[in-house]
């Protein structure tokens, strides 16, 4: 897909400023929804005893993921370089099928719509969706 325009980046950064303090909640909610709505994603967490949407492990991991997304916003000008280590992790160790990045992106968007119904306008949604797609691309950079 296309790269982020200056306007896209500005939109994402401005929106993220409003979202800052809520990232832990957003992460917990988003991962919980991923597991509830797309149960096949549980296959990546078979090493946890409790993989239910409300489990402590899911909540903790949601926070971790969202912190990384937040960090990626600061690296929005060069996601490929900024996410190099995470890309290697996902490519060689985690091996998450990239189709799942889209599913998680959708769940994140749903949470943002719930939490910020006025601010998550179609224009913001578009720019943020582009950002998440670029993030996913950078994450799968080292896959093959």
């Amino acid at each position: 897909m296309t790269s982020l325009s200056p306007k896209d980046k500005a939109t994402v950064k401005a929106f993220w400023n409003q979202v800052q303090g809520y990232t832990d909640d957003i992460g917990r909610d988003a991962l919980s929804r991923l597991i509830a709505v797309y149960p096949q994603t549980k296959t990546y967490f078979a090493h946890w005893k409790d993989v239910s949407p409300n489990s402590a492990n899911v909540a903790k991991h949601g926070v971790t993921i969202m912190a990384a997304v937040s960090d990626a916003v600061t690296k929005i000008d060069d996601l490929k370089a900024g996410l190099l280590q995470l890309s290697e992790l996902h490519a060689f160790t985690l091996r998450v099928d990239p189709a799942n990045f889209k599913l998680l992106a959708h769940c994140i968007n749903v949470v943002l719509a719930i939490k910020f119904p006025e601010n998550f306008t179609a224009e913001v949604h578009m720019a943020f969706d582009k950002f998440l797609a670029a993030l996913a691309l950078a994450l799968s950079e080292k896959y093959r």
């Binding site: 709505v37 719509a113 719930i114 179609a122 224009e123 578009m126």
Partner: protein, 147 residues
């Protein structure tokens, strides 16, 4: 055939009974056209769609959004037979409108986000799962008659 539990049926009919089709329909369609601009290809006769503002104030888009919601209403009222209920609509979208079925999923995602914004925390992960299942069945039925 698709199995629906009592809980799933009541979740779906419950959500639809709270929706204002005249509000949610246009919002969802606008969002789809703005977030996934390539979907504009199907609306060449709708007039000014040159930017987000134009799309949001376009009366043809609004009317069509309402139409889509009423179409979904038919699935809600025939949950045990969505495939048959949509057979004609599927032929229409394939033979006459020539809509790439991948686009159904894009509109479904935008509708999910619009409904999530409306319902807020009532749109729990479990409700979202049921809602997503319903839209997946709708999308599948709409693509069924393509050949």
């Amino acid at each position: 055939m698709v199995e629906w539990s009592e809980s799933e049926r009541s979740i779906i009919s419950g959500i639809f009974s709270t929706l204002d089709y005249n509000d949610v329909g246009p919002k969802a369609l606008c969002r789809c056209l703005i977030v996934y601009p390539w979907t504009l290809r199907y609306f060449g006769t709708f007039g000014n769609l040159y930017n987000a503002e134009a799309i949001k104030s376009n009366p043809n888009v609004a009317a069509h959004g309402v139409k889509v919601l009423h179409g979904l209403d038919r699935a809600v009222k025939n949950m045990d037979n969505i495939k048959a209920t949509y057979a004609e609509l599927s032929v229409l979208h394939s033979e006459k409108l020539h809509v790439d079925p991948d686009n159904f999923k894009l509109l479904a995602d935008c509708l999910t986000i619009t409904v999530a914004a409306k319902l807020g925390s009532a749109f729990t992960p479990q409700v979202q799962a049921t809602w997503t299942k319903f839209l997946a069945v709708v999308v599948s039925a709409l693509g069924r008659q393509y050949h």
